[in-house]
């Protein structure tokens, strides 16, 4: 073989192998967290490991549409993840535990299922035992219907209720946080039956009691969280008619079956928070349970690992604003 032929063959071989091997090597050294719609697999990987106090540098890319990254119960500005581009963030955990990360963009019908976990290990200073949520303490059956026996003719006014509240001798009890959280509005309406007020007036007092457990900041945060996380299904006005509602209903079981681990799940129409029979029969503790745990066997995801306690109570106060007129 001529020397020129041999040399040319070597150059071609080296060049061809290099052009294949080099990108493969660089690719292998660039671990990316891939985000794709839940129907296509969600996060990959969906389990990340970290250590307390050690910075965790994460790089993301989206394989299909715009996604977002945030970690539940952590004060972190969501990271936008654009298709085909790489986004980065660095996290540091000060407590061990299992944290949930989730998509913050309405990326598709099963957006809510696009979640993963960060398993943080290491030493901890505090080991306070977790207390069971209120709905567990009260033994509430979250899956049973809790409709209100009676509903007001018009939207109750908290302002009118405040004027009438002076006639209620046990008002401080009604206004206490414990009482508020463990009773539904219709239960309070019943408890006020001996007050001598008309039905309409009693409902106004109930509205005033609910408002007394509501702060304007809490309402603002609840509204924001609702808009970001709930409105896609439940609708901007809570009517159960969000942009995904029809699709969820139409997709039915077939949609849910695309998700691993949810084979028996059946999509249902999202709850209508503007329905007084549903909302006035539900206590804050019941709503807390629904939000914490999600709707077992329905399309409602669990939010317990995402929202803090305070955030959940603020969402609940906002949900009641669909029933009560809080205007001053």
């Amino acid at each position: 073989m001529k020397r020129s032929e041999l040399l040319t063959r070597i150059i071609i071989m080296v060049f061809s192998l290099g052009v294949v091997a080099l990108p493969l090597a660089l690719w292998a050294q660039t671990p990316l967290i891939h985000a794709s719609m839940a129907e296509s697999g969600g996060w990959s990987p969906d389990v990340i490991r970290a250590k307390v106090g050690e910075p965790l540098h994460l790089k993301f890319t989206s394989d299909d549409v715009m996604h977002g990254f945030a970690v539940g119960q952590m004060d972190l500005t969501p990271v936008d993840i654009e298709p085909g581009k790489v986004s980065e963030t660095t996290l540091t955990f000060d407590k061990p535990g299992i944290y949930t990360f989730f998509c913050t963009r309405w990326c598709g019908l099963n957006h809510w299922r696009m979640r993963g976990t960060i398993e943080v290990t290491g030493e901890t200073d505090s080991s306070a035992p977790a207390s069971p949520p209120l709905y567990v303490t009260l033994g509430l059956n979250l899956d049973a219907p809790h409709p209100a026996d009676v509903v007001p003719v018009a939207k109750p006014s908290a302002l009118h209720g405040q004027e009438l509240a002076a006639r209620i001798p046990d008002l401080p009890i009604y206004q206490s946080t414990d009482y508020y959280r463990t009773h539904s509005p219709s239960q309070v309406f019943q408890d006020l039956s001996t007050s001598g007020l008309t039905d309409s007036q009693r409902w106004d007092v109930v509205a005033a009691i609910w408002q007394s457990n509501t702060t304007s900041e809490g309402l603002v945060e609840g509204k924001k969280l609702f808009a970001q996380n709930c409105a896609a299904c439940h609708g901007e006005t809570g009517g159960g008619n969000g942009v995904f509602a029809d699709d969820l209903s139409a997709a039915g079981e077939a949609s849910a079956q695309t998700m691993s681990g949810a084979q028996d799940m059946i999509m249902q129409t999202p709850a209508n928070f503007s329905d007084p029979k549903r909302m006035l029969g539900a206590s804050p503790a019941l709503l807390q349970g629904k939000i914490l745990r999600g709707g077992m066997g329905t399309g409602m995801p669990m939010w317990g690992s995402i929202f803090t306690d305070g955030q959940i109570w603020n969402v609940i106060t906002y949900l009641y604003s669909f029933q009560f007129d809080y205007s001053k």
Binding site: E5, F15, S16, V19, L24, L26, D64, K85, V86
Partner: protein, 461 residues
Amino acid sequence: MNRLELTRSPLIKSALKNRYPQLVVFVLMLAGFLFAIVAGFIGTPVGSHNFSIVFVWIAWWAVLILVAVPFFGRGWCAVCPIPVVGDWLQRGAVLEPNPNKPNWLNLRVPATFRNMWMQNISFTLVALFSSVILTTPVVTSVVLAAMLFLAIGLSMVFERRAFCRYLCPVSGFIGLYAQTAPIELRIKDKKVCVKCIGKPCYNGSELGAGCPWDVFPGGLTKNTYCGLCMECIRTCPHDNIAVNLRPFSADLAKPSTKLDEAFKAFIMLGAALIYAYVLMGSNGAVKLAAYNVFSPAWFGYAVAFLTVIFGVLPGLFWLAVKFTPINHGVTKNTEKSILNLRELRVSVVKKFSIAATAIIPLGLMFWVAFSLSFVLTNAAYILAALSDPLGLGWNLFGTAAIAWQPVLSSLVAPAQTLALLGGLVWAARTAQKSAVEARISSVPVIVYCLVATLLMLWLLL
């Protein structure tokens, strides 16, 4: 017809005779091709940010259809990396052929397949799945890898470039449209070829391989099957091969009578029309149907696609040709009336094939117009993909963050209109010439081209 022999220039001639310039381009192209395959498999699945999609279906396609084919004919085939590995294995060498070349099967391609029908089928298959191929990197890589391995495999079984000549989905239409290009490879003097012993340009010699495209340069009259590989320039012992600059459309003066080539013209015309409707249009349901391969909707799309390209377009043209009055004017003035009467009995198949020559420039300009819209719209992705070809967050040339925005968007519509109207005029002129050969009136063919152009204008604008 006037020709300018480019190979008279010593610089051009030596560049073409020397293997190294072409070899360097081959190696670079092969590297790019292999990288595109790798990128499709390991890079981001987002097509607009993956090298395989951006550089194959935007950059390469733009160069091919807007520059290479119209101006250089089979110029792309001269540097295409797909057959080159098979060539080397077949010859047992990268440079001059190896006298002890490997003992591959070296079979002749069966006569049944020595035409353009397999290319018509392969192009149609790619076209049917194009919505997925053009947008999904991994599918693009599978297609590219399949082409590479098919080309290598066929080189082991058959002689010469069987893949390029008879199977490559791209080669078929490049060959068809190469007839319009202002460049050609031809012999200088036919008598030299007649006297030449051994015909090394076809059979090969120690200077180079025999024509990989299975073409005897001495009989070359059209660009369709000449791959411009330049082997014959290297092997011709009489310096009788020239590369000429010539007027556009020169080969169309000698219309083909082959039905496979005529159908290729209709397949290309129909595919451009359908793509303009499906890919450029605003009908989401049709786009979804084209994308969701093997779904019931896709089968509907496939049936419609096949009906248009194999039925409606050639069918209407067939009817136009069949019921076109015979052009007596051609024969009245001739002296050999008996011979011409015999010629008048040109079969409808031949008339159809000859008249379809007009569809060639029309189809080419349809593809130019169609490609202008998506190439200029998506050109911005090229710079971004250059810096981050795999979507791994690299920024090799500082262009990764360039935001997408259409390029020269205000010029797209005028350029498309110009291309389509230019194509119509070109087709009409070609129809007038081929009608003489087909012994028919050119009017129905021109009307056919006019209607098709109006339809394309409506779809694109």
